[in-house]
Symmetry: C2
Subunit: 334 residues, 2 copies
Amino acid sequence: MTIKDIAKLSGYGIGTVSRVINKQPGVSEKAREKILKIIEESNFEPNGNARKLKRCGGNTVTIIMKGRHNSFFMEILDRITLLLSELEEVVSCQIIDEDGDEVAEALKFVRDKTSKAIIFLGANLALFDERMNELDIPCVVATTSAKELAFDNVSSVCVDDETATMELVQYLTGYGHKDIVVMGGEISDKQISFSRYLGCKKGFEKSGLEFDPDKNYMACRYSYEAGYETTKRLLEKNIHVTAIVGLSDTIAVGAIRAIEDAGKKVPDDISVVGFDGTVISRFYTPRITSMGQDINSIAKRSVELLMKHIHYTLGCEHDYAPHNLIEGESVRRV
Amino acid sequence: MTIKDIAKLSGYGIGTVSRVINKQPGVSEKAREKILKIIEESNFEPNGNARKLKRCGGNTVTIIMKGRHNSFFMEILDRITLLLSELEEVVSCQIIDEDGDEVAEALKFVRDKTSKAIIFLGANLALFDERMNELDIPCVVATTSAKELAFDNVSSVCVDDETATMELVQYLTGYGHKDIVVMGGEISDKQISFSRYLGCKKGFEKSGLEFDPDKNYMACRYSYEAGYETTKRLLEKNIHVTAIVGLSDTIAVGAIRAIEDAGKKVPDDISVVGFDGTVISRFYTPRITSMGQDINSIAKRSVELLMKHIHYTLGCEHDYAPHNLIEGESVRRV
DNA sequence: CTGAAAGCGCTTACAG
DNA sequence: CTGAAAGCGCTTACAG
């Protein structure tokens, strides 16, 4: 069943049928009704590939999500997908490895002419290199700031990671903690982890504590397993620690599990805080105090910015979404 | 940059270029080399939409995942994606609501001619109705058995939910539990929850306990929140319960949280077991005893069956993947 | 308001 | 082994 069949069946030409399908003006009410009826009856759906070929590209909004075990991203993905489908956008999702190359992935979709816009859920800015010249469709990076990139088609939305992390550390020092170890991503100035690292440093310093990277910071992937292993290594060193900052809730969960396995209690022996404010932080035992990222804002603004790009081709914008500390039961005063 | 440009640049015709691109025989080594070199230099990528139009359909394997907060599905998705990309398949993922209509979603991809095959991650068989006539591409349903459907293009892989659930209940009764409440999905004979429900029943009966649906089974969505609320309601009833079976790890987590919030302890006051064997069950405090589904097997067999369909168009198969109990710290003897 | 025709960028018989 | 041509199913000026 093609547009040609519908034309024949309706007695009109394929041009008129096409106009009806695409809700274009310049068709008599009579023709529209008749054609619509026939389309309805025959269950006709235009061939997407032909349309995309003719239109020189698809109209799918592609979401590239980095990391498969990231419930924080999943929660954002959930919101974004919902918002986009309310706008009747066709959305497709690609999930790549935490260490994957999101730009290479995005390029595929551009070359393949299927996507009209891309949302990156997580990003390593180091990968946003000269290949971006080819990536000439609207993009939004969610949860990482793309401000310094200064590409005119790449907007971004994220929380102020530096400030949020600083506040998280200060929260602990406010409870009297001095021996704090922070566990977060590899420190590269092109990654989100770097802002958080700077935030840690500031948090320590503002609280009058010295920040020694070797002592106070441990690189750790954002997973339960990594949080567990890193904490285990820390505990084996047998140094005095009263609080651990996991720069994701997954790390915090792994940390708590490792502490318990070492025969200690959270928060009685060691306090633990997380980052992201994902659902598990509210359902873990003990509830985990976590720096919550405003998932709704991130999703909403990401979609808004993308739509702006798509419809008005304005310059790009870089927004902050709110963060706020969610208190749980995993911190005690020392 | 099109195939025409490559033809001009290389001095050959577009037919020859096309043959080179598609690795078809009947091209001289000389021509192949020259054309390949030019394609390389110009960074040319054939227009996917034109190819798909010509070939009467895309070659994407589409995965339709039901439910956005399902880390069990995410873990399977992870494996399947990996396996498919090792086979150099193009894969795309659609995430729909837990209560969404996966068949309607699949139909979109068929009508749109983008997918060559579909993997359903989770399914409500009630939706697999006469619309399936139109869904005439290879399909695999993962985690739900599609055996009774008897469509010749729909294979399936899942654990033996009935037996697994029975064993889970028996595990508890083996530890002396008699007052057991099971929390699982709505009981409809077209859903996975039904097999598990039957398994419960069997487990009770085989242990010499009466199974009263009103007393021993509570319908509950597969989420932390639902597990929490359902358990809260249960505890408020103030009936004697020594063990709760959550038919997903998320339900079990919610249950534990609710029990703790009621001032009781797991497993001291109430034992809790989960289902799925997801990562969180191993990192929760206490570690949750859970009926593990063999994620690797499910993923591997799903991909194998799909490939069989795609390449040999054999009849469909319905496979069981292994299940095995993972003991944690959430059960005590009574 | 409507239709005939060109053309999007490929693939694939067909003829050489 | 190679090229010219038809055609996949649409959209969109263009002419009427």
